[in-house]
Symmetry: C2
Subunit: 212 residues, 2 copies
Amino acid sequence: MGAGKGQTNENSALTAKPGMSTSLLIQNIERHVHLDVGEIELVLSLFQPKQLKRKAFLLRQGEVCRSEHFIVKGCVKIYSIDENGFEHILMFGAEGWWVGDLFSFLTGKESRYHIEALEDTQLLQITKPDLDLLYEKVPKMERFFRILLQNAFIAHMERIDQSLSLDAAGRYQHFVRKYPAFGQRIPQKQIAAYLGITPVFLSMLRKKLMEG
Amino acid sequence: MGAGKGQTNENSALTAKPGMSTSLLIQNIERHVHLDVGEIELVLSLFQPKQLKRKAFLLRQGEVCRSEHFIVKGCVKIYSIDENGFEHILMFGAEGWWVGDLFSFLTGKESRYHIEALEDTQLLQITKPDLDLLYEKVPKMERFFRILLQNAFIAHMERIDQSLSLDAAGRYQHFVRKYPAFGQRIPQKQIAAYLGITPVFLSMLRKKLMEG
DNA sequence: CTAAAAAATTAAAGTAGTTGAAGAAATCAG
DNA sequence: CTGATTTCTTCAACTACTTTAATTTTTTAG
């Protein structure tokens, strides 16, 4: 999706029990729609686990995004690189979030984005044919993804509003308030690339905010 | 939705024949899902026509957004007003677009946005109870709105990417290329509020772009 | 644990975009 | 059609943010 998560705030502190990952997925889905046992089995059969080492790519600019991905553990960034080689981060994703490039996934066209692991990351992924199959067999999943998209859309609308309304200091403060975990977990350089400012300026801002 | 449109580029030049407005809605829906006669009737029965004079409000900051709206004719802006009284335009909508504040519509909470007509505007609107009823009776509509949301989400993702990647001149050029009709139709002041710059600076940019 | 690499800090000079103010042009309501 | 209002343009002074570059601190890989 490149989309965001179901609803809750931080599903951290997972130990690596087997079955753990799949149950996190089911929990995430059941936040919005109820599944019976058969449906759960079908869902689980259609998602494939995948591991990413830190700095490994889930998707590169120019490739087609063939799956949607649910993050079980770890953290990724979705970003573009402009003609001057600068990175611009569209979103981060951590435990419980869905990531991908929906445009490329749906149209089969080349993606403009990279998706890269910021930490060692475990995912569950579903291909487009399998997702279409899932929509057919379990129409409730159509509703689930509609709700997911609604939430993602709302979050992006908020972000656009902020990029228009707030200066860099305001955007930074909002970010750390909204995602306190990311504030710790993610290098400042990346946060700057998300906020649309230079790391140098972010460093200055933080100093001012500490003092003042 | 605050969402965007089905797919096409500009459904302009509508004359005001009766039935015209509803058929535009059905056309818009049938771009993505097929409806039979009974379903069309149900859809039509659930949407209420509404007229807005130029400068009239469809929604005000602080109100709850009780309907989603399909624009048949005319043009609106969705915007917030910051603590200094400045307007920030999240999106424009014209013929064939869906507008609303999805967050407020779904949660029942107060909206942070105003929606105001830039021209005399005709809409078709559906309330939340009626939309839920429609999802029940015509599950295909669940799919239709999922697709609509996907497109809207993708468009917003692109806009975020641009706000990070491009300077004001680049954003302006992209805007006029992507929405040539709006370039004509909408006052520069409003375009500036959409791009996140002052009207003064936009005027300077346009001059430079004409010359150079 | 250690060397090497990446990230964060600081400072000074430069640039993209803002502010305020004033006049010209376009649009609107009656 | 006309006066009133809103929008657009231009200019000069100003501010938020960038750039470059040097130094320090933190993180990483082996």
